[in-house]
Symmetry: C3
Subunit: 168 residues, 3 copies
Amino acid sequence: MEQSRDELFEQVAAAIGYSFDGEIAIGGKYVSTIEHEDEIYVSGQIPRVGSTVVVTGRVGAETSLEQGKLAAKICAMRALALLQRSLGDLGRVKKILRITVYVQSAPDFTQQSEVADGASEVLHTVFSSSGVHTRTSVGVLQLPKNAAVELDMIAVVESATQDNGAQD
Amino acid sequence: MEQSRDELFEQVAAAIGYSFDGEIAIGGKYVSTIEHEDEIYVSGQIPRVGSTVVVTGRVGAETSLEQGKLAAKICAMRALALLQRSLGDLGRVKKILRITVYVQSAPDFTQQSEVADGASEVLHTVFSSSGVHTRTSVGVLQLPKNAAVELDMIAVVESATQDNGAQD
Amino acid sequence: MEQSRDELFEQVAAAIGYSFDGEIAIGGKYVSTIEHEDEIYVSGQIPRVGSTVVVTGRVGAETSLEQGKLAAKICAMRALALLQRSLGDLGRVKKILRITVYVQSAPDFTQQSEVADGASEVLHTVFSSSGVHTRTSVGVLQLPKNAAVELDMIAVVESATQDNGAQD
């Protein structure tokens, strides 16, 4: 029997060893997600679980490529956890239009794409072919709270009411 | 009596001590805003007033957190001034989908979110609950003209003609 | 007789001395373009031609402003080559909503806008007045494969079926 996306989400959470059941705290005077018509924008996510940023530092220096990839996975999981809370369940996600992955990098670290692959793998595991997405990954100097990675997302939502043109 | 958003905009301008009445100059071979259906994209804004970039340098080094926050406010005000010019008045802004805030940062400066709060505060003051937005803030190495902050925006516009499907 | 956009594309390719006829390789577990309704998102492009990144390094240090501008042109040409492959021909591009240009920068290099002008010039040459766009250009610490520039894009597509509301 095919597993639901929410079940796959829980499997990824178990595999990387973190729970995303608690409150997804974000700082600042903004919101986690905004829906407009059939699109949903997700604010930039850092690898925070509960109140702890679990992967910090410059990838390629004090933080390894593997740790960076884990950070990207956690950012993607947070984004999905926010979609879950906003939409009810991940079954309503139709496609992912864009992720942008910012990697706090050592000056000579050029494997930002490999770090971002961590996020892409999560999307593929949970959404299968609907998880294909466009992606931009860049190496930045610093991120909020010394996070190793930050990720934002734009997704398209399957709307039960999408035929009546009144979903906004 | 409730104040209009344009009045609130002028109050913020007075409070931070800059006028946004003049031409909003941008460099390069692009435009400040583009509308598509009910969305409007605003090009990356630096804290330029008239022909002067009023907050430059690395936040966390030669530029303080407070100055960085002021820079973020000025960037947000420029974006709103461009929306005003393009839409006629700010009353037509329905919501803010996304702001991305790039902070020119010292290597160990990790308070990009606090800098970006300056922009979020402006949006809250002018738009109240319609000013909620998703946000991404990152720390970059350098910005055009040594600007301390750069901000871009996607907003949704209330269109008088939105029912006839011909607003593009 | 007016030249088609595809002809203008080939002229720009000849002028900068690179061919974009081959496969447009991208790394990682994502796709080059995704269409949603009448918008098309293009993944971040680096100045790769075939399997070679032809402009690498920090602009303002080992890489000159002119080389950076060339890199931005190549990134824009790659994005257009991907639009061509996805849409059939560039005649279907209605407008460019946004380009974001990330410039791998020396710490004191502040001419990111001038680098990004390379991309804007390509859009103007190929699309003329339909090539106007909003733009954000920032200076980042590092980019995948040590690329000098990375660029992503959101465009609007002229759809033959746009009247029936079923283009998704």
